[in-house]
C-alpha cells in the first residue's frame, strides 16, 4: 500500500512541471523589465470553403518598459492575394495589476487591450482583432503557477470596426463578441536543471472560445502544442488549432501554428 502511495507521490511530483508561455494566449506575467522580445508567428490555416491552406505571417516586437507594463506591435501579412502582402497593424498593451508570489508558485492578474487596423475584405462572422479585423479588444487574464504547472484563463470583449476600404457588416449587428480562454502548460523536460543551456520542453493545451453577441453563435477551439526553449532565450512553438464545436460562420477552423521567439535581456537602458 505504501509503495502504491509512494508511486503516486512520485508520479505527481515529477509530472507537475510546466510553464505559462502559451502559444495562443498571453499570460498575466510579463517579460522582465527593460527587455525586448521579437516573435515571428506563422499560421497555416485551412480555408474551410476551398480546403486550400492560407498562410499568415505576423512579425512582432515586444517591449517591457517596466515590470508591470508590456507593449507589443505586430504586422499582419498573408498570401490571400497571392504573394505575401501586408494587411494590417496590431498594437497590444498589458498591465499586470496583481502579483502574489511564493517559492515555486505565483498568481497574477493583468488587464489588456488591443487595437488593430486591417485592409482585407470581411466575409466571416468570426471576429479576430488580432488578425482579420480592424477594431479593439479589452480584457483581463489570470495566471497561476504551481511548481511547474501553469493554468491561465482570460475573458475579453472584441469590437470590430470597418476594415479599411472594406465594410464589416452593413448593419453592424455582428461586430461584437465575448471571448474566453483556458490554458494549461506543463514542463516535461528537464526533470532537473543543470544549466541555462539545457533545452526545456513544454506541452500545452489551450481552449479558445468566442460568442458573437449579435446572433449568440460561437465556437470552441482546442490547441494542443509543444514548445522548446533553447539557451533560456529562444522559443519554438508548434501547435495545431482545431474547432471542437461551433455554429459561427468562419473561414478557418483548423490549421498549424508555428512561432519563433527570441528574448533580449536588459536591452533598454
Amino acid at each position: 500500500m505504501l509503495k502504491y502511495r509512494l508511486f503516486w507521490v512520485l508520479f505527481i511530483s515529477t509530472s507537475t512541471s510546466a510553464q505559462e508561455l502559451f502559444v495562443v494566449t498571453e499570460p498575466a506575467s510579463n517579460m522582465p523589465a527593460k527587455s525586448i522580445g521579437i516573435r515571428m508567428a506563422n499560421y497555416f490555416m485551412q480555408i474551410d470553403s476551398s480546403l486550400k491552406t492560407s498562410y499568415h505571417a505576423m512579425p512582432e516586437i515586444m517591449i517591457a518598459p517596466t515590470k508591470n507594463i508590456m507593449l507589443h506591435a505586430a504586422i499582419v501579412s498573408s498570401n490571400q492575394k497571392g504573394g505575401l502582402h501586408v494587411e494590417g497593424l496590431s498594437l497590444y498593451a498589458k498591465y499586470r495589476f496583481l502579483s502574489i508570489d511564493d517559492v515555486h508558485k505565483h498568481f497574477r492578474m493583468a488587464a489588456f487591450g488591443r487595437w488593430s487596423t486591417n485592409n482585407t475584405p470581411v466575409h466571416m462572422d468570426e471576429i479576430s482583432i488580432q488578425m482579420h479585423n480592424s477594431g479593439y479588444e479589452l480584457g483581463t487574464v489570470a495566471t497561476g503557477l504551481l511548481h511547474k504547472t501553469a493554468i491561465s484563463s482570460s475573458l475579453y470583449y472584441q469590437k470590430a470596426k470597418n476594415n479599411v476600404q472594406n465594410k464589416h457588416h452593413t448593419d453592424f449587428r455582428l461586430n461584437k463578441s465575448i471571448n474566453y480562454s483556458l490554458s494549461f502548460g506543463q514542463l516535461v523536460l528537464p526533470k532537473t536543471y543543470t544549466s541555462y543551456r539545457q533545452t526545456n520542453f513544454n506541452v500545452m493545451l489551450e481552449f479558445i472560445g468566442q460568442v458573437n453577441t449579435g446572433n449568440n453563435k460561437g465556437f470552441l477551439d482546442v490547441v494542443p502544442s509543444i514548445q522548446a526553449i533553447f539557451n533560456s532565450v529562444a522559443r519554438l512553438d508548434i501547435g495545431f488549432r482545431k474547432q471542437l464545436t461551433g455554429n459561427l460562420q468562419r473561414d478557418f477552423s483548423q490549421g498549424f501554428i508555428v512561432k519563433l521567439e527570441y528574448l533580449f535581456f536588459n536591452a533598454l537602458k
Binding site: 512541471s17 510553464q19 508561455l21 506575467s29 510579463n30 517579460m31 522582465p32 523589465a33 527593460k34 527587455s35 515590470k67 502579483s99 502574489i100 508570489d101 511564493d102 517559492v103 515555486h104 508558485k105 505565483h106 503557477l145 511548481h147 511547474k148 514542463l187 532537473t192 536543471y193 543543470t194 544549466s195 541555462y196 539545457q198 526545456n200 526553449i229 533560456s232 532565450v233 528574448l263 535581456f265 536588459n266
Partner: protein, 180 residues
C-alpha cells in the same frame, strides 16, 4: 598604565565591530522556469559592484559575490529581482565577524550599514555568520507576517531609523532587520 588599558579596551571594541560580507544567498519566488531564472541572473549582473553570480536553477537561489564588501547595497538586489518580474523569498548574508556582540533589538554597524538584530539570544559571534534579512520584501508575505507579530517596533515596519531605536535616531537611516 591607565591609558594603556584604555587603548587596549578601545582596540577590543573596534575589533568587535569588524565584519565583512563575503557573499549573499538570494532565493527568488514566483518562478520555476530557466528563462525566468535567467532574467533574474541577467538583472543582478547589471549591478556594477557584483563580481560573480552563481545560480541554482532548481531552487532559484543565487549566490552573489561582490567586488567591494563596503559597497554592498542589499535593497538594490531586491529591486533587481523585482525588475525582472519576481520577488525575494529569502536573503542570507554571509559575514566574517570577530567577537561580535549581538542582543535582541540592538543595532550593529557592519560594512557601513546598520543591522537590527531580532529574535536572537544575547551572545558573541565569531567566524563566518549567516544572517537572514527579515525586512518587508525579503521574505514571503506569510513569513513576514510571522516576524511582524514578534515586534511592535516602528522601525521594523518602515525599515528606517525611528523613535523606537536606541541610540535615538538623528536621521532616517536605512536599517536592515536580521536574525540568525
Amino acid at each position: 598604565m591607565k591609558n594603556i588599558f584604555f587603548t587596549i579596551a578601545l582596540l577590543l571594541m573596534i575589533s568587535t565591530a569588524k565584519a565583512q560580507i563575503t557573499k549573499i544567498d538570494l532565493q527568488a519566488s514566483g518562478l520555476t522556469c530557466s528563462m525566468c531564472n535567467k532574467s533574474i541572473y541577467k538583472s543582478l549582473l547589471t549591478i556594477t559592484n557584483i563580481d560573480k553570480v552563481e545560480s541554482d536553477l532548481n531552487n532559484n537561489t543565487f549566490t552573489i559575490y561582490f567586488k567591494e564588501a563596503k559597497l554592498v547595497n542589499i535593497d538594490e538586489l531586491k529591486n533587481k529581482v523585482e525588475v525582472a518580474g519576481y520577488k525575494v523569498a529569502n536573503l542570507w548574508l554571509y559575514t566574517q565577524v570577530e567577537k561580535l556582540g549581538v542582543k535582541n533589538d540592538t543595532h550593529t554597524e557592519m560594512d557601513n550599514q546598520t543591522f537590527h538584530f531580532m529574535d536572537v539570544q544575547e551572545q558573541e559571534l565569531s567566524g563566518l555568520v549567516k544572517l537572514r534579512v527579515v525586512d518587508k520584501g525579503f521574505l514571503t508575505t506569510k513569513q513576514y507576517k510571522a516576524f511582524e507579530k514578534k515586534t511592535t517596533m516602528k522601525c521594523f515596519k518602515s525599515g528606517f531609523m525611528e523613535d523606537c531605536c536606541t541610540p535615538k535616531a538623528k536621521d532616517k537611516k536605512r536599517i536592515y532587520h536580521v536574525t540568525l
